[in-house]
Symmetry: C2
Subunit: 251 residues, 2 copies
DNA sequence: CGCCGTATTGACAATCCTCAAGTAAGGTGG
DNA sequence: CCACCTTACTTGAGGATTGTCAATACGGCG
């Protein structure tokens, strides 16, 4: 019953009231930027959990910004193995690659129900010509994604299974925290162990064992889809700390 | 005896005669772009093999384009383990991350002697304001780096040791090929097995065994620093093919 | 109720790692 | 020109980590 719908009218959310703008740590638009964005936005997209938003190898005319919900980017091997490359959260841009090369190099799938803002790829040139600030933001977002991938690659390449799991959980928490999606020491994650395993580059069985080990040590505690965690201990295990950005842009 | 020198005068290479412009597949500058670049460039940097060009955690005022030579980006863990994130070749931009966030998230080291073009970070704003085409190129380069990292992450996370090695060798060959640095079925790579191991996320010993296995199968053949390879077989082993870009920019 | 996706656990096997030692090649200084 | 150092590469042996196969348990949903 999962479905994906794209609507041009009616829009649920006018740009002036974009929920992203209300998140602390997300930069406000300056000058003419908001006006430009209003024109750049061509619709909204709702995607149910489990649906594919962009497919590897496809050629998309669109570019999206996540308004709400969780998703993930992934790639497949012919033997069926899947690597989750990164997770996408509110404020993240999706599909930039497709706007720059002919084909998408990865797929994007919704983890929870999602709401996305739709932009027209073809108008990106206007953005670069008329809104250098937003163009810079686009580059900023791309560089930040690169930074996250660097971290993941370090993790998958050099950390032990336990360290990897600790890193990933802490990473997801910090990203959720920035968006006000956490309370105290716990938050809601719409992931299954299958997703974690595919992000960690570990088998499902071993991922399960590692998570249970962390649970028994009292470092994390799953209950349904809510996760409580000890950030300090996780940071020590993983040898990692989130870098705090002052202010981040979004489009 | 390794050293790193930055000179403002005399410049060895005027932008009009930039060797990158002569590489087939690298886009030429249009309109005012070349003039802008001439002003943007503030010097040249020579780095001997083995020297560090940018250090993780540092705050660089500069941005570089590789003119000649090989290098690599890497990150360290406190326990001393190192992950090579990607390799940099002529035409690649280095240090963009430092221009966007406060600190470099990774280090860059020269594999061979290198020549780099130096740009002033502080003038990047001018670029976005006055040269939308070049601004787009910057984003293009960032998105392409992201794409390569996606591939590496897939590789390290999901491929077997042998597949990984096959992928990496083929990847390096295709990148060198685009720059005319290959002849027939062989090319020069200034890498040691230590570098390969750290890029593959494998131990040195196991990397050595895997490479020897590939040699015995007749898929590759090292001799000194030149490597001959069977691209077809490597592609089959790795389940990967390079995507051919029509034209790529550089700054 | 029965099915399906998810989580869990055991047993065993394969991959990959560490330790260790030895060879080969290149550079330096006497 | 040779001894000697250092770096890179090789190979063996044994062990740890992680993977695969298999079976079970549990909960939500039609």
């Amino acid at each position: 019953m999962a479905s994906i719908r794209q609507s041009t009218l009616p829009r649920k959310i006018p740009c002036d009231e974009c929920p992203l703008g209300k998140i602390e740590g997300f930069r406000r638009f300056a000058g003419n930027e908001l006006e430009f964005i209003k024109g750049f936005k061509t619709g909204e997209l709702t995607a149910d959990a489990g649906t594919t938003i962009l497919a590897e190898g496809s050629h998309s005319e669109h570019l999206y910004t996540v308004i709400s919900g969780w998703g993930f980017r992934h790639k497949l091997l012919e033997n069926g193995r899947r690597q989750i490359l990164n997770f996408v959260l509110p404020g993240d841009l999706v599909g930039l690659q497709g706007s720059i090369s002919a084909e998408m190099g990865h797929s994007v799938e919704a983890l929870s129900d999602m709401l996305l803002c739709v932009f027209q790829r073809s108008r990106m040139w206007d953005l670069f010509r008329n809104e250098p600030g937003l163009a810079f933001d686009l580059t900023w977002l791309a560089a930040r994604e690169e930074r996250m991938l660097d971290e993941h690659l370090l993790s998958v390449g050099q950390r032990s299974a336990e360290q990897r799991a600790a890193y990933l959980i802490l990473f997801l928490y910090s990203r959720a925290e920035l968006r006000g999606m956490t309370n105290g020491r716990s938050f809601e994650i719409p992931l299954t162990q299958r997703h974690l395993a595919d992000a960690l580059g570990l088998s499902l069985v071993h991922t399960n064992r590692v998570l249970n080990r962390l649970s028994r040590r009292g470092v994390i505690k799953w209950q349904g889809h809510t996760l409580r965690l000890d950030r300090k201990k996780l940071g020590e295990i993983a040898d990692w700390a989130p870098d705090q950005e002052k202010e981040r842009p979004y489009i």
